[in-house]
Symmetry: D2
Subunit: 393 residues, 4 copies
């Protein structure tokens, strides 16, 4: 598919590999089987049934092509998945499979299972990034350079404080993301209209038990048409994306030929041009910026589809899946690129000095140190915060 | 201006009145004078200077038309504001005004001051709304109705649990908004390039003191081109907007002539038509939905403008103001409408019974109670959560 | 209102003045009175009635504050407008006013009347802009400079061809806008549900006659919930906005202190800074870029509200008004700024030569002319196109 | 990949199959070989060279996995593609391959080649759709039903005129799309910075010849950072998407259990539920609505990435690919669904009569025919327009 050439270059290769067909079916199985387990533990299903189901319902048994071919008919993958699963089961077990559940229970929960490790991978990249920022801040704490506002040279600052700014923004964004990963990836379980039809008072307890079994958070209520959890998640992703995008924009501007203060890490074959062999393009920055633009738009889909009618959306829910999954893998990719970029960033001190000297002449010759103001103190403050973050993580 | 007829009907009238020209200038004055105070307290300005400034720099002294006419020249209101202010001052005081500050310090801080009371007003509406939800939930806890998925009748639920769903979504959205209002409205103070040029080590302490004086939160660093605070704020607004929009969508669907389960509160002259006197339109729902659509787009501006170059945006920053202020007043308006709507909502039990009976025939005649599952328990859970929220608030 | 300081600086001052309260009421009157005229001409209203209505229904007689206060009740301005108008009329004339019309007929048609002269004003700015581009292209047809791709110096081109690129893009965008202004500003007239209730077969003929009377285009059918006309209009506005934004981005990049190839026209008091008197900011570019960002988001509202239910939107329609009007006045403002910017653009030939020389060393010393390729021919081609456009306009 | 379950169900299966890896490489080959041909014909390459290249550069020879693996390094597929191609060639032919071209020439042109047949397939679906609308209009020209505004019953209309409204909107949208397909799919050819470096005056003629060879339109100038062509294309796609989305929304509303005026075509296994066997969901409408929501967001990426810096974007260009291709295949899928839906739409006349009768009581008992106004005339007008369209197509 065209994706390989036109979408995947802006995604995490590793993340994509982890989100293949097979993983989707595994996640679907995991949700259904965990449900059977908790229903058995609650005495709703006969003893032993969940083990019997687990012995048959194996990801490898599913016909992936048939699944893919049938999604359109009912509009979601759970319908053909349940159909295939039931066909694998002996007649007497069938009614115990998917018991009390609705498609959205399975799909939403599986999506949360699928994205959780990817978000954790993003958090890992953010930790690496903190390491990279810290290294740069310590090394360049007092390296003066010219600050620039409205795309014009303004007054001096240090390169250290510029990195501190990048890091401080990312710390905030990371905190929001971490909060969502810790507390905001909710199990979905409500049955046909979100009231645990046929399960009586057990419903909420089952939802809680299922969350525990799957390592997901328990929501106050089922959230079939309450998309606040997704909004908070996507907003957190978008925040990190903006942090990465701003960092990439700054680096790209400082890499400009006439500015020359930074270069992307030199890497065999990276940043080349098909027509100009002498060029070195900050293509890492370009890829991060492309991914971030996609993520902004993905948030928009989630937001404009957030108001879902009555007990299940008709298109609003369905519209969420691709933007959600794409955003997760695009963010992971952008962070991999950014972490590598920061780790190997080439800092051209002589260019910083040269550019600074032009402006210093224009300024009324205050001593440089006066201009630098709180630059050093800001670096120290962020280094402290990084240290705390690293210790507690 | 056309706004009165085409934008303001989707905004809070009270909120708008509080955000007039004069309030903007008051906020600008407040920031500048608080800055002078903290600088005097830090020994940076001579004793008594801040009081001298405060005696002259009065909102009423500013020429609003001249201010408005000159914003374009420098691109922001702080430039003509500072110019007018200095012209009011005796020569010897001029250099103490706006000391160490840059336009963005004043504008960003003033914006936070302007929106804070409006967000608090929104939180107040959310508290009223909780009251309204609670009343409906208690009254209709066990009223059966048909649940609907993908725009089709599905299986029974209660009207109480539907309200509980609305309420649970809003509680989450409210929590995010409250968190931002409590901890996320930051003072801005960094000087020309965000390093407190000329203020030496005092910079960060001044920023902290200024925040305290203005009742705003202290950021880790100045955030001139780190727009994470705005992203978090706008995402919180958008979350509440989606909550209101979903609620309005459900009500509008249930108000449809053929469904007839709800009506908007009857109110003299509201919901009329220019051509069909017999109609009663759920215009409150319509206005809420319009406002929410605007707010989604406003988030988009903040998000796609989030990556701002180097030490100050060139257009990215400027693009934020109108969407931010609009979103705040639109949300306040939507919540006023929704709180009134919920408070006076007309519930037509007989229509619910009629619609339900059609589906019950199609279902295999399980007893109704079995269908209702956890409906009552869900209502109770949300009532408990509302009680906690109301007590702690 | 805060708009004066935070929204209007990114709009056309003249355009705004032309879109005040009074103009809105005038447009509403004009639509209603033209309708009465065509209905009288068709023999639907008694002879002389339209003149009698016109004698009473004068914009100056409307109570603007009452109008504004009442818009919310029915959700649109036509409802209180019709109410006030009827109250002005003697009993026997009342039923002839707004005859066969619905609110949306009046509001949509009035909006088209309001924006038409503004779009024509934008087309006038685009004509000025063509003049400016032509002047620059002729003057700098052969001035070599370095081309830059992915934010890096690449190979030589001319400044003339860069301007030709800006101009060619704008020609395309202008053509789309002109096409909409000529053929795409449609009258709205369909009555309560778009089928000319009560007017029998006259309906479509009345719609056509009304369009003629108002100088608007006749649609195939009423377009109450067919928003294709608005989509085409907004897409055209967005196209011009992107053209202006790209031009502003290029200028801002070339104005950077280290590049120095262009400056905005020097203008007393423009581009100053509140903290750094030595700076000259390309604030025209910044304002254009802010306006364009808003316009992109406005398109999004129109697009995500484009699918409107059945015979009238509930919020979807209402959401269109502010984005539409804002976009029109923001575009007019952006074009005024850009036309002035291009007209007075300062071109620093020595900086272009200096920047070029750095790259020429890196290139393998082909003769410069070889690099320039079709630069001159491209300029000539665009100059020809501009000449044609200017002649036919 | 997860796409099969979460993205592809909202796309054309056939369209996707036509846009696989292989097609991408074929399109890349086609562009490069056509370029060699026109350069040979212009005497720039030695006679016979293009045939020699064509003998070696065969899609089947490319290592797709290596291509996909290397896209990230330079940021676009043309770089590894050219590298692989040159490695296939004997030393003496290498400099004739990709002569005078830049990556963006190859990628943009190949994208146009890839999407052209898909857009033609969409036009074909639109023609089918016209047939379906015509059939419904003729059959139900005079079938009365209740019109509904603001989600409330209003006054009568006919089902025929409702279909006419859908059709009239689509005709406009189709016209815009057809115009783009006929005149707006441009070849890209400009060399490194868009001035045909090294090709002298030949550049523009080569661009024209290349367009002819590839069956694409010739632009005025190369459009590397003039994205007006893409904006017009995406706006046209979005217009058709809105048309389909509005149609799907209306159908979904009319399919509601309590309204019951329409049903989706009955189709084995379609519209089922995993938990409620009695339900029939209008899942075609849901899928169309999901696709349309994606397309709106894709337009947003193109629009907010439209202003690209200087002679090549850094991320802005790269961000376009996935949204463009996705939008094309999503639109094709939505139209396939809609054409089938309209073709087999089940119209429940008795439900229309029942719903109408409720409102007629409320109305003041005018004869029904008076209410219907121009309904029949509107149908006839659209039928005429469809006939013209069908004849000329």
């Amino acid at each position: 598919m065209y994706d390989r050439f036109f979408r995947h270059p802006f995604m995490s290769r590793h993340g994509l590999a982890e989100l293949d067909d097979r993983s989707v079916v595994e996640a679907l199985c995991r949700v259904e089987l965990a449900l059977a387990q908790v229903e058995e533990e609650a005495g709703i299903l006969p003893e032993g049934v969940s083990a019997q189901l687990a012995a048959v319902i194996l990801p490898a048994h599913f016909d992936m092509d048939a699944l893919a071919a049938d999604v359109g008919k009912g509009g979601n993958v759970a319908i053909p998945f349940v159909k295939q699963a039931k066909a694998m089961l002996p007649e007497e077990l069938r009614r115990y499979f998917h018991h009390g559940a609705t498609s959205q229970d399975i799909v939403d929960s599986a999506l949360m299972l699928l994205i959780k490790p990817r978000l954790e991978a993003s958090l890992k990249q953010l930790a690496l990034l903190r390491g990279g920022y810290g290294k740069l801040m310590r090394r360049y704490r007092d390296l003066p350079m010219i600050g620039r506002t409205l795309m014009q040279q303004a007054v001096p600052m240090t390169f250290g404080v510029k990195v501190a700014q990048w890091a401080a923004a990312m710390l905030k964004a990371e905190e929001r993301l971490e909060n969502v990963v810790q507390h905001g990836l909710f199990v979905q379980f409500g049955g046909p209209v979100g009231v645990h039809t046929g399960l009586g008072e057990h419903g909420l307890a089952l939802m809680h038990a299922l969350a525990g079994k799957l390592g997901l958070a328990t929501p106050m209520l089922p959230w079939h048409t309450d998309r606040q959890p997704l909004l908070a998640l996507m907003a957190a992703l978008d925040g990190v994306a903006v942090g990465a995008e701003k960092n990439a924009l700054d680096i790209a501007l400082m890499c400009q030929s006439e500015v020359g203060e930074l270069s992307e890490p030199a890497q065999e074959g990276v940043g080349g041009s098909s027509s100009m062999p002498h060029k070195s393009n900050p293509i890492g920055c370009g890829r991060i910026r492309a991914a971030a633009r996609h993520i902004h738009a993905h948030y928009g889909v989630i937001s404009t589809s957030g108001a879902q009618p009555l007990e299940r959306g008709l298109g609003e829910w369905h519209a969420e899946w691709a933007p959600l999954l794409d955003a997760v893998v695009e963010l992971e990719g952008a962070l991999e690129l950014l972490a590598a970029l920061i780790d190997g960033l080439q800092v051209h001190e002589e260019a910083m000095a040269r550019n600074l000297s032009h402006s210093l002449e224009a300024l009324e010759q205050r001593p440089l140190a006066e201009y630098l103001g709180s630059s050093g103190a800001q670096v120290d403050r962020v280094l402290d915060a990084l240290a705390v973050q690293t210790t507690t993580a």
